[in-house]
Assembly symmetry: C2
Homo-oligomer: 472 residues x 2
């Protein structure tokens, strides 16, 4: 434990990483751009929640924090669909009632910070990393003041020197706009990309009811799929729901943020598309006009570490869009994998970080692709009867062939299967389901022994194909 560890960012991943490294005896210091959120009140509309799934829980278990967080978490067992015609439908996520869990980002982050400090890590707040010298492993910090947990204001005058800190072993857990990632991207032969999608999002809130706290089904992720846009809602422990409207910034149609520029237009839009939400959100107009529209980015970078001296982790390495609920889960899985490599390789950080990149980079690329694909599914496909039929068949097959078949959604959310493998399974499952569905009604077919024989054959072929993929 000779090496001292510097972490940029005390967000979810930075705090968890600090805990895991302290438990192994490393000296850990963390620099965080924002103020200490445990001291400042978090403003209304900033209670963004997360969907914690199997990968996230595993890392929390490693950190000894699973039970503590479970008390904050609301299981969501499926998608609760609110269709345009006013009808609703429930679509279970797993064949055995598995759930993903709605957790408050703020509460989770606070507890992780406290646990990190209890474990002996030092967290210094209001320290923004302005640049990194990756060759000499030095970071340059400036003091910032953070009034709102949203934007930060620079205190430093342009002539003040930056605070220079010599890092020994440096982790960039500093998010989508990581200073360490920027420094890597300025190195020769480092490829990188940042892709914004044409969609933005706006947060809205459904208050708890006075009689029953949750005024819609509590144990579900609510979706209003509308083809080119969608509204979702996740339950909070106080009975409220955090809603998010995803929609194009601009467009030729009226269904985009830039087009909704008057009270009349906003009202007409909500009345047409979200009629069942209006009674639950009487102040939707004020909320819509008050809350900002934020953008959605995916980032890629070819270099995740530098010769045993520094590495990127979490969003800093692979920021993704939120549509699979996997951003935090992927970052936490980074931590689990790194922890496993520490067990395996001791203190050979050159080798540890090299293997970390080799194992995680393909999965970072895959989860980015999965998240983009799931957006189309959520906003559009879930309203399609053929797609819903497919989902039902998938579940049946999962029950009939529990060893052979696990849907991609289940692989991603309820297993530790590498994301890259889940990605590979998409084509195989598409082919399998297309074959099955080309023969007409599945339930009726199942009654015919000759179809059941064919199905056995298809499943055997599918299993053979998938067996060549890497599942651990």
């Amino acid at each position: 434990m000779d090496r001292k560890i510097t972490i940029l960012g005390a967000g979810l991943v930075g705090s968890l990483l600090a805990i895991l490294l302290r438990r192994r005896g490393y000296d850990v210091i963390v620099f965080e751009r924002r103020s200490d959120m445990r001291k400042a009140a978090i403003g209304a509309g900033r209670s963004i929640n997360l969907a914690m799934s199997t990968r996230g829980w595993k890392a929390l278990e490693l950190a000894g924090l699973k039970q503590d967080i479970e008390s904050l978490a609301i299981p969501m067992k499926g998608r609760f669909l609110h269709l345009q015609d006013g009808s609703t439908a429930f679509q279970a996520y797993g064949r055995n009632g598995e759930a993903i869990y709605s957790v408050s980002r703020g509460e989770l982050n606070k507890r992780l910070m406290t646990l990190a400090e209890q474990a002996g890590a030092r967290i210094l707040f209001n320290k923004r990393c302005q640049k990194v010298d990756v060759v000499n492993n030095k970071i340059y910090l400036e003091d910032v003041v953070d009034n709102s947990n949203v934007s930060s204001q620079v205190l430093r005058h342009s002539t003040d020197p930056l605070e220079e800190v010599q890092a020994d072993l440096l982790f960039g857990a500093d998010g989508a706009f990581s200073a360490l990632r920027t420094a890597y991207s300025h190195s020769d032969r480092v490829s990188s990309a940042q892709d914004y999608i044409e969609y933005g999002y706006k947060e809205l809130n459904i208050e708890p009811g006075t009689e029953t706290p949750w005024r819609m089904e509590k144990n579900a992720l609510h979706i209003w799929p509308r083809g080119k846009f969608m509204l979702i809602a996740l339950p909070n422990t106080d009975g409220s729901f955090t809603c998010t409207l995803f929609m194009p910034f601009e467009g030729e149609l009226k269904n985009c943020f830039s087009a909704l520029d008057s009270e009349e237009k906003i009202k007409a839009f909500f009345e047409l598309n979200f009629a069942d939400v209006l009674p639950l959100m009487p102040d939707y107009l004020a909320q819509f006009q008050r809350n900002p529209v934020a953008s959605l980015i995916t980032t890629y970078i070819s270099q995740w570490h530098k010769s045993g001296n520094s590495a990127l982790i979490g969003d800093a390495a692979h920021a993704i869009v939120p549509f699979y609920g996997q951003g935090m889960n992927a970052g936490f899985e980074d931590c689990s994998v790194l922890d496993g490599l520490l067990t395996e390789l001791g203190e050979d950080w050159g080798e540890i970080l090299q293997r970390f990149q080799e194992r995680r980079k393909p999965n970072g690329d895959a989860v980015a692709a999965l998240a983009l694909l799931n957006f189309t599914e959520m906003r559009d496909k879930v309203a399609d009867p053929v797609f819903l039929e497919r989902k039902k068949i998938e579940k049946e097959i999962g029950l009939l062939y529990p060893e052979e078949f696990t849907s991609v959604y289940e692989l991603v959310s309820f297993t530790h299967t590498p994301y890259a493998t889940a990605m590979k399974c998409i084509a195989a499952q598409d082919a399998l389901l297309a074959e099955i569905m080309s023969h007409g009604d599945f339930k009726e077919n199942l009654l015919r022994p000759e179809f059941k024989l064919k199905l056995d054959q298809w499943m055997e072929e599918y299993s053979k194909q998938v067996a060549s993929f890497e599942f651990a």
Copy 2:
């Protein structure tokens, strides 16, 4: 001409842009990172040459510089192939003896700078733009000293304030690592990417002969295609040839730069692969060991301009790999198109820059893709007999159907067809040629009237398909 124009970069595109804008009466100032290359000797091995083709000549003609540069240019009428077995072959670029032209980058740049100054532009040297404030259109400069024309050394102490310049209308012609491009990429919702290929390049030189100056065919671009790597050579006016070796940096095979780490290995590599070059380059070993290996980047950015106040042009907007010889040609075409928009739209810069992006961004993406595709063609396909047969048939068809058919290479190098259209023609031409070649020997088939009838039909279909593309 109310607006004053600031240009970052006095390279080829920045200097040409300065000339064109001065001719329209604008006040123009140019900040250049390097020293004045007209005063400093350009070191050996830095005489990189360019392949000027139709798009480049058009822009030079606009600037009134065509005749002046023609005296420096050596026509190259085709590829002169040096195959591994020692045999050679010549492959004409055009059906009518069209040529691309080898021009010295340094000489061309010097003349453009001088012309820009003569036209009344001011060029300030050793001024590096450190950052750009795109919202307020301010640039921040530092003084640098440039000893070698290769790397520059910072004079400024970290506490010295940067020189702040308020730009009115700003152009970033500052190359692949453009400061303005970097500033744009830090704006919300601007997508960008930088992709390095796995290949590097090393320059080598063949000296002029004592009896005959050009010791190989003068009017050709020489290629030693070797599958995964290649050597090329372009003629210079003094009788020398500038050679470039393109090869992977690393790899499992021995044919990569990292593997050639001893005299023995370098010798063995050259003797095996470039036997006919050795007599022309007796000092190849010293050159190989002395000259650096450089990397190759393609850049993309979604925003090329900011609300009538600033814009990217040339490599700053679309840096590409050099394999189609189109980097400078594309940048010069940017200048021609911008000049055309000035004629069309007067001084409505908001509209001019918006249209500039709309017209040029799809072509920047297309020329980037074309350049990457042409690398495979040059290093690998040109050594394939089937490919050579196809090239011959293409030329025949071009002669038989001069109105209907122009090969993609000709479209790119000898016309002003938008690059995006040339890109679209690839699939159409691939299908056409596959059909033609599936019937066996083309010359024999031509003697059969029924084949000729079919060919007429195919050409009609091809013409119809291509007629829907945009050719101007």
